[in-house]
């Protein structure tokens, strides 16, 4: 659905040229929710804005739904943009227009007839759950409600793609959840392709099928969300997923550990307890689980446990071997 090839974007300042995006190629499939994560300044926002040419790349090609956007005339580009919705961190609603007028503007821009507009706006506000606010002004709405209005506006012309520029970053956790589930629902119901940029790994975990990690204008890692979480390769990716899968043990507990510390990671379908209890029976070590958590990533469970093993070194080595064969990842944690 979206095909970015060798996108490079340079920004010219008086004294130097800044590389915002550095030779990035990405493909987003139809019906997919794709996440782009990175710290601020990583170039993710610039990359997203290249998809609807709010930012024109210095070089590279942008294809959306088979159309080469960079080759379109300004009139055709406007038409193409009608099928690429976009929502923003700051909502960007017109303060002097009511909720109705804000959504209607997108339809007017596409030349939709007046009689159709009224019906369509009501339909859209019904979809985002704001029908009772139709005649209010943005200033009278909460952040979450404003984002719902901007989603309705973005969906007005039945787009094929929805671009989300840090759409939940200004919202509290509960509101974020409700906006994410709305996005998930429209992805399923309307078959909409969604690209989300965010610095919150929670967002990726919650709704993205695949994601890419950006640093200094480049994509450093890309894959399905589950692989990114269960098997991160880059150090940056690891720091990111640590914000969700945090397994730091309290120092007091760490000090009292005498044996070896292991971090076990289970793939979704393995029966954790059975593996651990079988291991304890087959070797002569004693085990003690200090920390454990099962996260659901895209509805697939990812279990992580930290356990202490006590016993003869030889037996512990055997235990680790036993676990390595049955568990997707075993890590020995060094400690004082």
């Amino acid at each position: 659905m979206i095909k970015l090839e060798n996108i490079t974007k340079e920004f010219q300042t008086k004294s130097e040229t800044i590389l915002g995006v550095d030779n990035v190629s990405l493909t987003v499939e139809k019906g997919e929710i794709f996440g782009i994560v990175g710290y601020s300044g990583a170039g993710k926002s610039t990359l997203l804005r290249c998809i609807n040419l709010l930012e024109r790349p210095t070089s590279g090609s942008v294809k959306v739904d088979g159309m080469d956007l960079l080759k379109l005339s300004s009139k055709d580009l406007r038409k193409a943009r009608q099928s690429i919705g976009m929502i923003f961190q700051g909502f960007h609603l017109v303060a002097s227009k009511t909720v109705f007028e804000n959504v209607a503007f997108a339809l007017k821009a596409a030349g939709v007839e007046k009689t159709v507009i009224t019906k369509r706006v009501e339909e859209l506000l019904e979809l985002v759950g704001l029908k009772d606010r139709i005649n209010q002004y943005p200033a009278q709405l909460s952040g979450g409600q404003k984002q719902r209005v901007s989603i309705a506006r973005a969906l007005a012309n039945n787009p094929k793609v929805l671009l989300c520029d840090e759409a939940t970053s200004a919202l509290d956790p509960n509101t974020t959840k409700s906006i994410l589930s709305l996005l998930k629902r429209i992805n399923k119901e309307l078959g909409l392709t969604i690209v989300i940029i965010t610095h919150e790994m929670e967002v990726v975990k919650e709704i993205c099928h695949r994601c890419a990690v950006m640093q200094d204008g480049r994509v450093v890692e890309e894959g399905t969300t589950y692989t990114i979480f269960s098997n991160p390769r880059e150090p940056l990716t690891r720091t990111f997923i640590q914000t969700v899968l945090n397994f730091d043990l309290p120092p007091k507990l760490l000090a009292s550990v005498q044996g070896k510390l292991l971090k076990l990671q289970f793939r979704g379908d393995t029966a954790t307890e059975a593996v651990v209890s079988d291991m304890l029976q087959s070797v002569t070590v004693s085990g003690n689980i200090l920390h454990g958590k099962v996260e659901y990533i895209q509805d697939i469970p990812l279990g992580i446990f930290i356990m202490e093993l006590k016993g003869e070194n030889q037996e512990i080595a055997k235990a680790i071997d036993y676990l390595r064969e049955r568990v997707s990842k075993v890590e020995v944690i060094e400690h004082e």
Partner: protein, 219 residues
Amino acid sequence: MNSVIEILPELNQAFFETLLMVGISLLVALLLGLPLGILLYVTDRGLFLENKWIKRVVGIVINLIRSVPFIILLVFLLPFTQLLLNTTIGPLAASVSLSVAAIPFYARIVESAAREIDKGVIEAAVAVGASPWMIIKSIILPEAKPGLITGLTITAISLIGYSAMAGTIGGGGIGDLAIRYGYYRYDNTVMFTTVILLIVLVQFVQYLGDFIAKTTNKR
């Protein structure tokens, strides 16, 4: 006191002459200054009709007119007024130079009022595929409306001041009256009366402008 009663008919006429001059030039400022100001804004860097050359040329012309002191502009424009109206005397003639001064004045105010709009809102409009005209008509003008009205108030009050200067070269109006009776004939009563009249007029315009700006503000 007698002198005031004596000039009452003249005062009345002068008042309407001032209103006429200010009204005409304010209307011209709105009709020409507003589009120019919007043009300055939308051709700015990073906006949807970005155009370095238009922005530069229009900007230079506006600065040129604005840097000429009004009293000089008045004299400088006399031949042009003569050509246009076949006379250089009277409130109508004075309106020509007042308009020329008011257009760039208001254009700059319009530009800065438009700059106050959240750029993101305009960007969102670009992202839904709206045409430049639609963005100007349905986003920029309504969003900048309170600023545009406040700007019109400022322009009107400045024009009241300028109109007094226009009076000195035969434009008529309250300023002219003040100079003729108050200054040349040392008649302080007339002088004070005209000043009070001007104060009342300015206060009224300011009040009206603030009121309209307030009622149109939906933020």
